[in-house]
Protein backbone atom coordinates (compact mmCIF):
# COMPACT_ATOMS: atom_id res chain seq x y z
CA UNK A 1 0.00 0.00 0.00
CA UNK A 2 2.92 2.37 0.59
CA UNK A 3 3.62 2.25 -3.12
CA UNK A 4 0.11 1.58 -4.28
CA UNK A 5 -1.93 3.61 -6.71
CA UNK A 6 -3.84 5.49 -4.03
CA UNK A 7 -1.06 6.19 -1.53
CA UNK A 8 2.62 6.62 -2.24
CA UNK A 9 5.46 7.71 0.01
CA UNK A 10 7.61 10.09 -2.03
CA UNK A 11 10.44 10.07 0.48
CA UNK A 12 11.61 11.65 3.69
CA UNK A 13 11.93 15.41 3.91
CA UNK A 14 13.76 17.27 6.68
CA UNK A 15 14.08 21.00 6.06
CA UNK A 16 17.32 22.82 6.81
CA UNK A 17 15.38 25.31 8.93
CA UNK A 18 11.91 25.31 10.43
CA UNK A 19 10.84 28.46 8.67
CA UNK A 20 7.71 28.54 6.52
CA UNK A 21 9.41 30.05 3.47
CA UNK A 22 12.38 27.69 3.73
CA UNK A 23 10.11 24.66 3.94
CA UNK A 24 8.14 25.81 0.90
CA UNK A 25 11.29 26.39 -1.12
CA UNK A 26 13.02 23.17 -0.15
CA UNK A 27 10.05 20.84 -0.55
CA UNK A 28 8.91 22.10 -3.94
CA UNK A 29 11.63 20.33 -5.99
CA UNK A 30 10.66 17.05 -4.33
CA UNK A 31 7.07 17.22 -5.58
CA UNK A 32 5.66 15.73 -8.80
CA UNK A 33 5.67 18.30 -11.64
CA UNK A 34 1.98 19.14 -11.40
CA UNK A 35 2.12 19.65 -7.63
CA UNK A 36 5.08 22.01 -8.01
CA UNK A 37 2.69 24.44 -9.71
CA UNK A 38 0.38 24.54 -6.71
CA UNK A 39 0.52 26.52 -3.52
CA UNK A 40 2.12 24.79 -0.55
CA UNK A 41 0.20 25.30 2.65
CA UNK A 42 2.44 25.18 5.72
CA UNK A 43 0.77 25.15 9.12
CA UNK A 44 3.18 26.78 11.55
CA UNK A 45 2.92 25.70 15.18
CA UNK A 46 2.57 28.51 17.68
CA UNK A 47 1.49 29.13 21.23
CA UNK A 48 -1.94 30.44 20.29
CA UNK A 49 -2.75 27.72 17.75
CA UNK A 50 -6.37 26.70 17.93
CA UNK A 51 -7.54 23.13 17.99
CA UNK A 52 -8.54 21.95 14.53
CA UNK A 53 -12.27 21.56 13.90
CA UNK A 54 -13.89 18.18 14.38
CA UNK A 55 -14.29 17.82 10.61
CA UNK A 56 -10.50 17.66 10.30
CA UNK A 57 -10.36 14.74 12.68
CA UNK A 58 -13.02 12.76 10.84
CA UNK A 59 -12.35 10.84 7.62
CA UNK A 60 -12.79 13.26 4.73
CA UNK A 61 -11.63 14.28 1.29
CA UNK A 62 -10.52 17.87 0.69
CA UNK A 63 -12.29 19.96 -1.88
CA UNK A 64 -15.11 17.49 -2.33
CA UNK A 65 -12.95 14.62 -3.57
CA UNK A 66 -13.89 13.51 -7.07
CA UNK A 67 -16.57 16.21 -7.31
CA UNK A 68 -14.06 19.03 -7.00
CA UNK A 69 -10.71 20.03 -8.42
CA UNK A 70 -8.48 18.57 -5.68
CA UNK A 71 -7.48 15.35 -7.40
CA UNK A 72 -4.50 14.47 -5.31
CA UNK A 73 -2.74 15.72 -2.20
CA UNK A 74 0.62 15.59 -0.53
CA UNK A 75 0.92 15.78 3.24
CA UNK A 76 3.89 15.99 5.57
CA UNK A 77 4.18 16.40 9.34
CA UNK A 78 6.98 16.47 11.86
CA UNK A 79 4.93 14.42 14.32
CA UNK A 80 1.61 12.57 14.26
CA UNK A 81 1.41 12.13 10.47
CA UNK A 82 -1.94 12.26 8.72
CA UNK A 83 -4.05 9.10 8.84
CA UNK A 84 -4.97 7.74 5.42
CA UNK A 85 -7.54 5.16 4.34
CA UNK A 86 -7.79 3.65 0.87
CA UNK A 87 -11.05 3.14 -0.97
CA UNK A 88 -10.82 -0.51 0.11
CA UNK A 89 -10.67 0.48 3.75
CA UNK A 90 -6.99 -0.17 4.43
CA UNK A 91 -5.56 2.35 6.85
CA UNK A 92 -2.06 3.76 6.59
CA UNK A 93 0.05 6.21 8.52
CA UNK A 94 3.53 7.16 7.39
CA UNK A 95 6.44 8.06 9.62
CA UNK A 96 7.14 11.62 10.78
CA UNK A 97 8.86 13.61 8.00
CA UNK A 98 7.51 11.27 5.30
CA UNK A 99 6.26 13.11 2.25
CA UNK A 100 3.09 11.21 1.35
CA UNK A 101 1.15 11.53 -1.91
CA UNK A 102 -2.40 10.20 -2.12
CA UNK A 103 -5.29 10.14 -4.55
CA UNK A 104 -7.87 12.48 -3.02
CA UNK A 105 -10.62 11.21 -5.32
CA UNK A 106 -10.39 7.72 -3.80
CA UNK A 107 -8.56 7.78 -0.47
CA UNK A 108 -9.79 9.53 2.66
CA UNK A 109 -7.67 11.21 5.31
CA UNK A 110 -7.92 12.71 8.76
CA UNK A 111 -5.80 14.49 11.30
CA UNK A 112 -4.90 12.12 14.14
CA UNK A 113 -6.49 12.75 17.51
CA UNK A 114 -4.42 14.56 20.10
CA UNK A 115 -1.96 16.36 17.83
CA UNK A 116 -0.01 19.10 19.53
CA UNK A 117 -0.57 22.23 17.46
CA UNK A 118 2.06 24.04 19.52
CA UNK A 119 4.83 21.79 18.20
CA UNK A 120 3.55 20.04 15.06
CA UNK A 121 4.68 21.37 11.69
CA UNK A 122 2.39 20.30 8.88
CA UNK A 123 2.14 20.96 5.19
CA UNK A 124 -0.37 20.06 2.53
CA UNK A 125 -0.43 20.47 -1.22
CA UNK A 126 -3.77 20.21 -2.98
CA UNK A 127 -3.33 19.58 -6.67
CA UNK A 128 -5.71 19.37 -9.61
CA UNK A 129 -3.13 17.61 -11.76
CA UNK A 130 -3.05 20.56 -14.13
CA UNK A 131 0.24 22.07 -15.24
CA UNK A 132 0.24 25.86 -15.28
Amino acid sequence: MRDGTEIHVLGRFVPSQFVKEVIEAEVRPLLPPCCRCERIGVRVPHANAVISPDANRAWHQDGGGAEGTTHHMIVWATEDPTDLRTSEGQEFRGEPFDLVWFDNTKAFHKQPLGTNEHTRWFLAVRCSGAMF
Binding site: C37, E38, R39, G41, S52, P53, A55, N56, H60, D62, G63, G64, E67, G68, T69, T70, R126, C127, S128, A130, F132
Partner: protein
Protein backbone atom coordinates in the same frame (compact mmCIF):
# COMPACT_ATOMS: atom_id res chain seq x y z
CA UNK B 1 -31.90 42.88 -0.61
CA UNK B 2 -28.98 44.60 1.18
CA UNK B 3 -25.56 45.09 -0.39
CA UNK B 4 -22.27 44.21 1.22
CA UNK B 5 -18.57 44.64 0.54
CA UNK B 6 -15.87 42.00 0.92
CA UNK B 7 -12.40 43.58 1.05
CA UNK B 8 -9.54 41.16 0.92
CA UNK B 9 -5.75 41.10 0.55
CA UNK B 10 -3.91 37.91 -0.31
CA UNK B 11 -0.74 36.63 -1.87
CA UNK B 12 -2.00 35.47 -5.24
CA UNK B 13 -0.15 32.18 -5.59
CA UNK B 14 -1.79 30.32 -8.46
CA UNK B 15 -3.97 27.40 -7.51
CA UNK B 16 -6.70 25.34 -9.09
CA UNK B 17 -7.73 23.96 -5.72
CA UNK B 18 -7.42 26.71 -3.10
CA UNK B 19 -9.35 29.96 -3.65
CA UNK B 20 -8.20 33.37 -2.53
CA UNK B 21 -11.65 33.96 -1.11
CA UNK B 22 -14.93 32.07 -1.35
CA UNK B 23 -18.50 33.16 -0.74
CA UNK B 24 -21.33 30.74 -0.10
CA UNK B 25 -25.04 31.32 0.09
CA UNK B 26 -27.20 29.90 2.84
CA UNK B 27 -30.60 28.28 2.68
CA UNK B 28 -32.43 31.59 2.64
CA UNK B 29 -30.24 33.86 0.53
CA UNK B 30 -28.33 33.98 -2.71
CA UNK B 31 -25.23 35.96 -3.65
CA UNK B 32 -25.28 38.42 -6.54
CA UNK B 33 -21.94 40.08 -7.30
CA UNK B 34 -22.33 43.39 -9.09
CA UNK B 35 -18.81 44.82 -8.84
CA UNK B 36 -15.25 43.51 -8.60
CA UNK B 37 -12.19 45.70 -8.09
CA UNK B 38 -8.68 44.26 -8.20
CA UNK B 39 -5.19 45.68 -7.93
CA UNK B 40 -2.09 45.51 -5.80
CA UNK B 41 -0.58 47.65 -3.08
CA UNK B 42 2.93 46.82 -4.26
CA UNK B 43 4.56 47.84 -7.53
CA UNK B 44 6.46 45.35 -9.66
CA UNK B 45 6.18 43.86 -13.09
CA UNK B 46 4.01 40.76 -12.90
CA UNK B 47 1.10 39.45 -14.90
CA UNK B 48 -1.79 37.51 -13.45
CA UNK B 49 -5.00 35.84 -14.54
CA UNK B 50 -7.92 35.59 -12.12
CA UNK B 51 -11.23 33.77 -12.38
CA UNK B 52 -14.42 33.49 -10.41
CA UNK B 53 -15.56 29.89 -10.42
CA UNK B 54 -18.56 28.21 -8.92
CA UNK B 55 -18.30 26.10 -5.77
CA UNK B 56 -20.55 23.33 -4.53
CA UNK B 57 -19.48 22.91 -0.87
CA UNK B 58 -18.08 25.42 1.58
CA UNK B 59 -15.52 23.13 3.19
CA UNK B 60 -14.31 23.88 6.71
CA UNK B 61 -13.10 27.42 7.17
CA UNK B 62 -10.05 28.32 9.24
CA UNK B 63 -10.55 32.08 8.86
CA UNK B 64 -13.59 33.93 7.62
CA UNK B 65 -14.48 37.48 6.68
CA UNK B 66 -17.46 39.45 7.95
CA UNK B 67 -18.97 41.41 5.03
CA UNK B 68 -19.52 45.12 5.57
CA UNK B 69 -22.88 46.65 4.73
CA UNK B 70 -22.55 49.23 1.96
CA UNK B 71 -25.58 51.13 3.26
CA UNK B 72 -25.17 52.34 6.84
CA UNK B 73 -28.91 52.02 7.31
CA UNK B 74 -28.56 48.28 6.95
CA UNK B 75 -28.11 46.92 10.44
CA UNK B 76 -28.50 43.23 9.72
CA UNK B 77 -25.49 41.01 9.30
CA UNK B 78 -24.80 39.30 6.00
CA UNK B 79 -26.31 35.85 5.69
CA UNK B 80 -23.75 34.56 3.22
CA UNK B 81 -20.41 33.25 4.45
CA UNK B 82 -17.04 34.43 3.12
CA UNK B 83 -13.94 32.39 3.88
CA UNK B 84 -10.26 33.22 3.43
CA UNK B 85 -8.44 30.07 4.57
CA UNK B 86 -9.57 26.52 5.15
CA UNK B 87 -8.85 23.39 7.12
CA UNK B 88 -10.77 21.44 4.48
CA UNK B 89 -10.87 23.40 1.27
CA UNK B 90 -14.13 24.08 -0.58
CA UNK B 91 -15.37 22.06 -3.53
CA UNK B 92 -14.64 24.02 -6.69
CA UNK B 93 -16.48 23.15 -9.86
CA UNK B 94 -14.03 22.64 -12.72
CA UNK B 95 -14.50 24.74 -15.87
CA UNK B 96 -17.17 26.93 -14.27
CA UNK B 97 -15.67 30.38 -14.74
CA UNK B 98 -18.31 33.10 -14.53
CA UNK B 99 -15.73 35.85 -14.93
CA UNK B 100 -12.08 35.75 -15.93
CA UNK B 101 -9.62 38.53 -16.51
CA UNK B 102 -5.93 39.12 -16.97
CA UNK B 103 -4.13 42.11 -15.58
CA UNK B 104 -0.77 43.54 -14.73
CA UNK B 105 0.31 44.12 -11.15
CA UNK B 106 0.71 47.86 -11.74
CA UNK B 107 -2.80 48.12 -13.15
CA UNK B 108 -6.23 48.06 -11.58
CA UNK B 109 -9.21 46.16 -12.86
CA UNK B 110 -12.88 46.92 -12.37
CA UNK B 111 -15.86 44.87 -13.48
CA UNK B 112 -19.39 46.16 -12.98
CA UNK B 113 -22.58 44.39 -13.95
CA UNK B 114 -24.25 46.76 -16.39
CA UNK B 115 -27.70 45.58 -15.53
CA UNK B 116 -29.42 43.95 -12.57
CA UNK B 117 -29.97 40.84 -14.67
CA UNK B 118 -26.24 40.53 -15.34
CA UNK B 119 -25.12 40.00 -11.76
CA UNK B 120 -22.89 36.98 -11.12
CA UNK B 121 -25.42 35.15 -9.05
CA UNK B 122 -25.71 31.91 -7.13
CA UNK B 123 -28.87 30.08 -6.30
CA UNK B 124 -29.96 29.99 -2.67
CA UNK B 125 -28.64 27.02 -0.71
CA UNK B 126 -25.68 26.02 1.39
CA UNK B 127 -23.84 24.38 -1.49
CA UNK B 128 -24.07 27.38 -3.81
CA UNK B 129 -20.94 29.49 -3.91
CA UNK B 130 -18.39 31.48 -5.84
CA UNK B 131 -14.63 31.17 -5.52
CA UNK B 132 -12.04 33.74 -6.56
CA UNK B 133 -9.06 31.92 -8.02
CA UNK B 134 -5.59 32.99 -9.07
CA UNK B 135 -5.22 30.95 -12.25
CA UNK B 136 -1.75 31.95 -13.43
CA UNK B 137 0.72 34.45 -12.04
CA UNK B 138 4.27 35.17 -13.21
CA UNK B 139 5.47 35.78 -9.65
CA UNK B 140 3.05 35.92 -6.74
CA UNK B 141 2.39 39.29 -5.14
CA UNK B 142 0.01 40.84 -2.66
CA UNK B 143 -3.31 41.34 -4.41
CA UNK B 144 -6.07 43.62 -3.19
CA UNK B 145 -9.74 42.94 -3.93
CA UNK B 146 -13.05 44.55 -3.21
CA UNK B 147 -16.14 42.57 -4.09
CA UNK B 148 -19.55 44.21 -3.86
CA UNK B 149 -22.61 42.01 -3.81
CA UNK B 150 -26.20 41.83 -2.74
CA UNK B 151 -28.04 39.00 -1.08
Amino acid sequence: MPSFAVNHNATNTASATVPMVSGFATATNQIGIYEVNAGSDASADNAVKYAIRRGSARGTAATSYTPIAVDQNVTQAALSTWDLTWNINPTITAASECLQWGMHQRATYRWVAYDYTKFIRTQAGTGKGLCLMSVVVSSAFNAVFSIEYDE
